[in-house]
Amino acid sequence: MNAPTGIGASVRRKEDYRFITGQGTYTDDINRPGQAYAYFLRSPHAHAKIKSIDISAAKSSPGVLGIFTGADLAADKVGGLICGWTVTGKDGTPHKAPPHPVIALDTVRCVGDQVALVVAETREQARDAAEKINVDYQALPAVVDPAATLKSGAPQLHAEAPGNLCYDWDFGDKAATEAAFSKAAHTVKLDLVNNRLSPNAMEPRVAIGEYDRATDTLTCYSTSQNPHVLRLIMCAFIFGMPEHKMRVVAPDVGGGFGSKIFCYAEEVACVWATRKVGRPVKWTSDRTEAFLTDAHGRDHVTHAELALDKDGKFLALKCSTIANMGAYLSTFASSVPSYLYALLLAGQYTTPAIYAEVKAVFTNTTPVDAYRGAGRPEATYVVERLVELAARQLKMDPVEIRKKNFIPPNAFPYQTPVAVAYDSGQYALSMDEALKLVDYKGFAARRAASEAKGKLRGIGFAAYIEACGIAPSSVVGSLGAGVGLWESASIRFNPTGSVSVFTGSHSHGQGHETTFAQVVSDKMGVPIDQVEIVHGDTQRVPMGMGTYGSRSLAVGGSAIVRACDKLIAKGKKIAAHLLEAAVEDIEYDKGTFKVAGTDKSVNMQQVCFTAYVPHKYPADLEPGFEENGFYDPSNFTYPAGTHIAEVEVDPGTGHVTVAKWVAVDDFGKVVNPMIVEGQVHGGVAQGVGQALLEQVIYDKQSGQLLTGSMMDYCLPRAEDLPSYTVATTETPCPHNPLGVKGCGEAGAIAAPAALMNAITDALGVEIDMPATPEKVWRAAQTRVTRQAAE
């Protein structure tokens, strides 16, 4: 018997042969006939006026085909980059979205801002010419720190955003929250920094613009997570042209983590320049450019408080956050520290009153936008650090305090005080499983063993929640989104029974070619090797919204199920005709149409063939076996779970070893357990990276990026990571046909809080991420001094 390939089977990834043997087609592998190369001259200043740009010497540099500045794009009426989500502030005014020119006009606002575009025969020639461009800058004072930028006297970035304020927004019931605090037996307070991260997808961004004179169409090859959204933005907002004249192709994409959702200056510039030089124009980012220009993640400073009654029951939570947007608003930047953040502050708990205030600010830094988890890791970090600290201050067990406050399984659907209604969950179940796997009872002995070696041991928990499967269009629309967040699928049976599935989701490492094929194979009773998944080309795939927010299976997969259901319904009519039975009497199960109560049946292949060779066919039925499905969810999905980290700290050096990691996640139904486990591993690695190692640092005075290469920006390596223990509990999502919740971001959401709780448990001192050796060493010193004093 063949290994199972349906829903629930750990099918090996169909795409891996291609990837592992180096035969994938990434954007940089595409080379168009006559292709020329783009190089962007970038600002060396964090903030400066451009007094003049002299390209005369550069123009005659060998191989140059064209040199363009912001003025050239303006002359062609090329629009600026947009932010597609409008957040309305406390005072009822929309956020400030100052102009974001594709190439700077008269001011540069961060190091790496585009100043000129050079197109030449070779990349090196383009770069040589760029070095001959003479830009006369008048340097201006810069500000990089989110709190400092709000201070009076801070350098001002945009005339449209006085005080560098993008928005001052709040959410929740302030009066109820304050009332609860005033009655509270205990208040726990915490100041937190959520460090700025650089996404560092393995594949840097690449763009090719190509114009076909014969058909008058533009093609943009791009490393995009959502090619249709990119096309929509470029056509509707930037070029003002019909969508059918623009094709966007996003072939194999090597990681994104959110950073490839956005519409970036470079792809727009290549698409524009191809007509100027009459040649395809290609740009490939190098790693330094990636550090400078890929949208960063996080960068919050927060003050948070939790009110508790005398028994440790949560009464209210409030927090006030300053979120750094960088120099300009990136495509979805505004939504991340607002709706994707404050709405998750209930966590897994029954906290009855919640109030959050968020000031989003501009600084002379790279724009910040969604990065794996986007807002939800920040929320989990606030909630779970507060809860852990509350347990410490009330001298309660961190497990007990959580269990006391969990939303009980019989309370679902559960309306939180922050708008969202959780669909389903069994929080204590995941936690109990995690406690068992980590051997919580044995912790005291492990701590003693570490101490005997001169090491400090700590344990930390994160009981996280996320809102995934982004999301119901009506909901996001009411919150200011400029797009709908449904998904599409088109399923085409070929006459002999093989299947092509066209999905609006986009895989950039998630394994859709396998998971989606499993769903179709399972529903339609077709062998998995007869199913191909097609994505990433606006000319082949119906309009779709792309992949982010752990939405592909919950939303894209549901659209596939919709299309499957339509095909099955049609198949029943064909089968009824072939079997001379009434449609109502046809039963369908995994590829077989059967007359109820008889042994008369036809299979999917016969039905499909009949649809294309309709010799014996219902008179009122259209031939063909192909259906479209569109799915707009009725709610977010709410994956949740418990991660437990155990660390060992060397107090002599401050080095932290992650000794144990247990993740028990509830992702609803699991289609491919192996892929899910891989997603958890990757997410936790990124979360560990954030908590221990990663941080984008700018020089406070000059605004120069100090972490512009792997020499200074520290990504986790295998040896920084433990061997994970991963398990799942299964509480199906009640409102989508697959019962799935999404798993892509969970690890990155849970891990920072779990790890920092473990480190601060070991140290007995609260510190911020990343827990660098020096920071940990200093905290360990504080601990020693304090113990001596006691």
């Binding site: 090196e124 770069r127 040589d128 330094t288 002599g652 050096t653 401050g654 080095h655 190692l693 640092i697 100090l706 972490t707 792997m710 020499m711 200074d712 920006y713 520290c714 990504l715 660098t772 050796p773 020096e774 060493w777 200093r778």
Partner: protein
């Protein structure tokens, strides 16, 4: 990268002649420092003289009294050599901890020393063991070789040919790696040699330097406890986003203690 002319001499004499007549030329060994510099356009040599094909610069000789390593020998060869492991285990250990597998497969001891990166590993061993650097012109004692950040006693066009490490009674090397680059943040190479105790600190200052106070304490008693109470001053030490001078000063004690313990003290 800017364009350059490429030469691959077969003998040391040829290489010397080339570098002598090409003032804007540069020697290329493993390329693991030079090539990244070129790729970032931070240097623009007119010519690269690849010394990777010169047999005279390759190989290891181990005698009872010395380990001699040709300037063109890869880190990996030193790390894996059974003879080096036996004669000076700390030296093999040091080589095995340089960068990653790819770096060790390309990088050479000559390139590392000529570059004198404050965060490099080899300078610790050269100074800690009191090695002698042989060049096309002369021999240079370790104590005279490192002059400052990326500065050595080498003259223009002077080529390192080999490095001679006297075999110590015992030695140990411990480094605290920079979490991002994995170069040395603070390293300590401790050796009991015929000429006395030597303690070389790398990563912490502008170039590798000796820690006299620890040498004295260890001469009195070669034991980890002897350095326990010592504190190097933070003044003059490197300070960057990864570690302040004060933290580096602290790590000097910790790494020295652990290096002594590793050496069996």
């Amino acid at each position: 990268m800017y364009a350059f002319n490429y030469h691959k001499p077969k003998t040391l004499a040829e290489a010397q002649a080339l570098i002598g007549k090409l003032p804007e030329g540069k020697l290329l060994a493993g390329g693991h420092t030079l090539i990244p510099t070129l790729k970032q356009r931070l240097a623009q040599p007119s010519d690269l003289i690849d010394i990777g094909g010169i047999a005279e610069l390759k190989g290891l000789t181990v005698t009872a009294s010395a380990v001699t390593i040709g300037a063109g020998t890869r880190h990996d060869e030193v790390a894996r050599s059974a003879e080096v492991k036996k004669a000076i285990p700390a030296l093999a250990l040091l080589a095995s901890g340089i960068g990653d597998r790819q770096v060790r497969a390309r990088g050479t001891i000559g390139g590392s020393l000529a570059n004198s990166d404050p965060a490099a590993d080899y300078p610790g061993a050269v100074l800690g063991l009191g090695a002698t650097v042989h060049t096309t012109k002369r021999t240079i004692k370790a104590d005279d070789f490192f002059k400052g950040m990326f500065e050595t006693a080498l003259d223009e066009g002077e080529i390192i040919t080999k490095v001679e490490f006297p075999v110590p009674k015992r030695a140990g090397y411990m480094k605290f790696a920079n979490p991002a680059s994995r170069y040395v943040m603070v390293g300590s190479f401790v050796a009991e040699t015929a000429g006395g105790i030597r303690v070389a600190i790398n990563g912490a200052g502008p170039c590798a330097f000796r820690w006299a106070e620890a040498e004295k304490a260890l001469a009195a008693k070669f034991a980890a406890a002897s350095v326990e109470g010592l504190k190097h001053k933070a003044d003059g030490l490197n300070s960057d986003i990864h570690a302040s001078a004060e933290y580096r000063a602290h790590l000097i004690t910790v790494m020295t203690k652990r290096a002594v313990a590793q050496a069996g003290g």
